[in-house]
Symmetry: C2
Subunit: 346 residues, 2 copies
């Protein structure tokens, strides 16, 4: 039976998921026995659709590409229009709410309330939204558990590159002592370009032109995006209820071409590293530019790619390298969460 | 209830697992709710022990370190001595057979027969033995399935670094188009030393002194070890029933210091790469030294470390770097297989 999903939000990431389901639905059914069916989509700007027997992913994409309004989605018996997010979360027949509204990293809202409502309605949540995980992990994880539903959020760190599922599923018991990574692609792109000779402003401008950085690049370049991910990793992988007040955070906006040259002269490279480690009975977490020796696997990660190293007691260091963003990549993070919920796997 | 295991073989890897269970048993129980109990060990040289209520891991390690004979394991009511591997597999109360006898990469025996007997007796198998997986994957996987039991073998590729579980659990549906990796630590160590200026013979000798290479280094340096791993990856991850006759195999024994220098001059590095890829309707698999540009993540893997890159349709390249061998590391591969069998997870 198909896994019924309701999408709260239908931006790049939601469209990425819809595209995957549209293009690879038959293959997923055949190779994995997995089938997802979009029963609802709800957005602030495009409108809202609900059909208990399923919406057509291709038509959703089509409508969004043409008029951008769900009003143009073909009418059919049983189709409901204009339901609110809360209504869909509470009253639709979805098994899982795909929460991809937008990330408010200061309040986590409305995503936190959506998660609460979903769990209390007996529905799973998958999300790529850092807000709820970075700001309310202990509460929401407990609420999901007590309602017997699942909460998965692979996409909150490194998009669909399994930065969260790898340690949970494949390193259980190896004991993670520390985690450190290049968790923000924009800043890594800028640093790579500065190594190639551009100054900070020119590199930033290029990142903006390529769509890596936003018009206001603060969240990336001051390290706040990486900070949220450090908090998520500490909470989820190391069982430490860290909040942002516990983490010293410094970005890359202060790095000059002279700094880059100085590192080069020492055979090193600047990288913006988010890290958390146990030290004695203490936890030390920070986001800061670090000068890494070239022999460090993280030093060789170029461009917008992300990477993470888990220091484990039994396996030593394990490093994972992959995409950190992208509509299809983050759409895939939602898919792999759904597949593993359906499999009843971690 | 504890997961009961019988160890067929008790060399470095079996002792690694016993050491982990002895040292971290309480922590595994507390943090994961997982408990494994060794009920039997059986070896050709040390003897054999079986107790349905469990053997003491600490005492097993002690006895092996002292006399090396299970005859010195303290007597106790219910303890059985001298059972054969087949008897333990068929008649013990183990839930899972840990098959770590020894790897005969030409016949796969006796490990293949042990797997068959275990499955037919309704027991799971976990193994770090490449033989059964490289030589009999389709048959044994089907036999396990038809008997409703599990077969796991994380340790056959990259020890406990999750080269197999990462794609199965965390990249399902992303569609793996190609896999390529540094799958043999010994040859990578030799190549790293040759880059530092040693000639092949001196580097090999050093690898032998460090215990990375065996007295007869053929299996490593001629690429046969990497070949088995390529076959395993093709069968398990890409569903291609490849055998060794399908894979061109060349090792590193022909590489000279002049070759190394030539690569350096081009800004490249020689690495022994095992690879398998879909190309049109065909599968192309090989083991061969390749000159990689420094920008390739695999080019920067130094020493005995292993690494693997999965080329996926939805996520692009994903690279995993970690230990490729070691008693504790391979012992851990058996533990993570057991944990996931107990979790009923991939």
């Amino acid at each position: 039976m198909a896994h019924k999903i309701a999408l709260i939000g239908f931006g790049t990431v939601g469209q990425g998921l819809a595209e995957i389901l549209h293009n690879k639905g038959a293959q997923l059914r055949q190779s994995l026995g997995f089938e997802a069916q979009i029963v609802a989509v709800c957005t602030l700007s495009k409108g809202s659709l609900y059909h208990p027997d399923g919406l057509d992913a291709g038509m959703l994409l089509n409508v969004v590409n043409n008029s951008g309004k769900f009003a143009d989605y073909l009418d059919q018996p049983g189709l409901e229009r204009g339901w609110s997010a809360q209504q869909i979360i509470q009253d639709s027949n979805a098994d899982t709410i795909v929460e991809i509204s937008y990330t408010d990293i200061n309040t986590g809202q409305p995503a936190i309330d959506y998660c609460r409502a979903a769990f209390e309605s007996g529905k799973n949540v998958v999300t790529a939204n850092k807000g709820p995980v970075a700001l309310a992990y202990p509460e929401l994880a407990a609420l999901a558990r007590s309602n017997g539903v699942r909460w998965a959020f692979e996409g909150t760190v490194m998009s669909g590159t399994p930065a969260i599922r790898l340690p949970l599923a494949a390193l259980a018991g190896a004991e993670i002592l520390a985690v450190r990574g290049i968790l923000n692609g924009t800043t890594n792109y800028i640093l790579t370009k500065m190594e190639e000779g551009l100054d900070y402003q020119t590199a930033l401008k290029q990142a903006q032109e390529l769509g890596y950085a936003e018009a206001d690049p603060t969240a990336d370049v001051e390290g706040y995006d990486a900070l949220s991910k450090v908090i998520i990793l500490a909470n989820v992988l190391m069982d430490v209820p860290l909040t942002k007040d516990d983490v010293a955070c410094q970005g890359i906006s202060g790095l000059t071409s002279a700094d880059i040259e100085q590192a080069k002269a020492q055979g090193k490279r600047w990288k913006l590293i988010g890290s958390v480690k146990r030290e004695g009975g203490w936890i030390k977490a920070q986001v800061a530019p670090e000068m890494l020796p070239i022999s460090d696997p993280l030093a060789n990660i170029a461009g917008a790619t992300n990477a993470i190293t888990y220091e484990t007691q039994l396996m030593g260091p394990i490093t994972l390298v992959g995409a950190g963003a992208g509509g299809i990549e983050t759409g895939y993070s939602l898919l792999i969460d759904l597949i593993n919920i359906e499999r009843k796997n971690v």
